[in-house]
Subunit: 242 residues, 2 copies
Amino acid sequence: MAFHIRDMTGEEIAVFADVIHDLARIPQDVDPREATSERILRLLRGDTLASYVWEPAKGRYYNPVSVNHDESNVAQYVASLQFSDPLTHRMRRLQGAQIVESSFPMNELEKTEFYTDFLQPDGMYHGLNIFLPSKSGKVFDLRVWRNRHHEPFCQREIDLLDTLAAHIGRSLQAGDEGLAILTPREREIGRLIARGCTDKEISDILGIGFSTVRTHVNRCFEKLDCSNRAELSARFSATLLG
Amino acid sequence: MAFHIRDMTGEEIAVFADVIHDLARIPQDVDPREATSERILRLLRGDTLASYVWEPAKGRYYNPVSVNHDESNVAQYVASLQFSDPLTHRMRRLQGAQIVESSFPMNELEKTEFYTDFLQPDGMYHGLNIFLPSKSGKVFDLRVWRNRHHEPFCQREIDLLDTLAAHIGRSLQAGDEGLAILTPREREIGRLIARGCTDKEISDILGIGFSTVRTHVNRCFEKLDCSNRAELSARFSATLLG
DNA sequence: CCCGGCATCCCCATTTTTGTCGATACCGCC
DNA sequence: GGCGGTATCGACAAAAATGGGGATGCCGGG
């Protein structure tokens, strides 16, 4: 029985590589967490996963993505439970992936209402968290859990999560700095430009007036600081294909 | 001593992820092998690495990339030794990463001239090869070696190389189908278009006539079947930024 | 030695893009 | 109810790109 918790099977290596590959090429209008969270959970051999984004302006978490969690639980966390969560306060400023038990002993955690009301019902026992601050002030996080019948997380998962989170962070960062400032309509038009459509064609495709297209295109130029559609096209297609 | 050869250190996981990330975003005019071979060798814990591309039309290997090899040895391999190489004949049609010793017992190999003249002097003893056919008929390969004082390769490296090679293959494939049909000058102009330069600007930057730029641009359109520069820009920037 | 590919240059007519002014209407928020 | 953001439309002139010709010189392979 030479089983060593840190090893990765050939299949896991391949899945890991695919996740990193996808993160590198994901379109900016897709949430990288949506596209990868199931596979990340599998790689970390966890039971449930949740991810939130801390919005500094509002002082709260929002934009949840979860796997194997009860949806209403996640909704409730965003709505109210986040304000009585004793974990994130303590862990948010730590660097890198952290095992919950290391910062918050289980015997202490089990006594809290947060545990009995929220964690326990959804089978969250052994926890592994990472909080990743981005330039914009937002903090992106990933929270992975195993139920109490499973082994606690160990170094293999810490290393994996550190790496995965860094790449998700890069991907989110790109979204932050990139096309997010455009309105949905503007992104739609940007995508068509990247496909080589002329303004006339775009107005036909979208069923709107030529002038409208012109307005949107000009606004794209302003917002993205592009001087012509070739440059705009580059900005879009850098993350469009894949 | 619970050392298990299949594990990856946290640093290796991070390097591996970076390699995959880079392969996903590498410009099409950069050889993905050049950009990653050192790191791949380190991940596989090998001593030397060489890579060639089999050109079916000419019936020979060309375009070598190597790490820690004597350059003249590699040149000689491409020039002549490849035709007396007893290994690749036997291994080229095998699927996936293969340990040389498994197909070609060492006691047999050590008797050959190829070993004494070529492999031995450069310290190639334990070998791990992969041959990856591409749609165009070309076969891309990676050949990693450890010297005789080191452990033979095992499953960890097979899994890793399988995955790495698949991603390099993807990257090369993209190059094959993409910008490779353009001349160097045409690619240069395509890149500038993707950065948003007008034809006038391009002619100034490159110090050539406006008309010349026009000719190159038109040829790009023809070859890549693009109807305007926005589309061309998309083709270039899909792999340009990183 | 000739041919093909490459890089360089020129002209002309037409289409598309770009810049810069407008304007109206809807919707959510304070 | 006003205000900001979004989506929608219009007009005009300048700048750039596009499509179609044709032309030269260089170089390497058959």
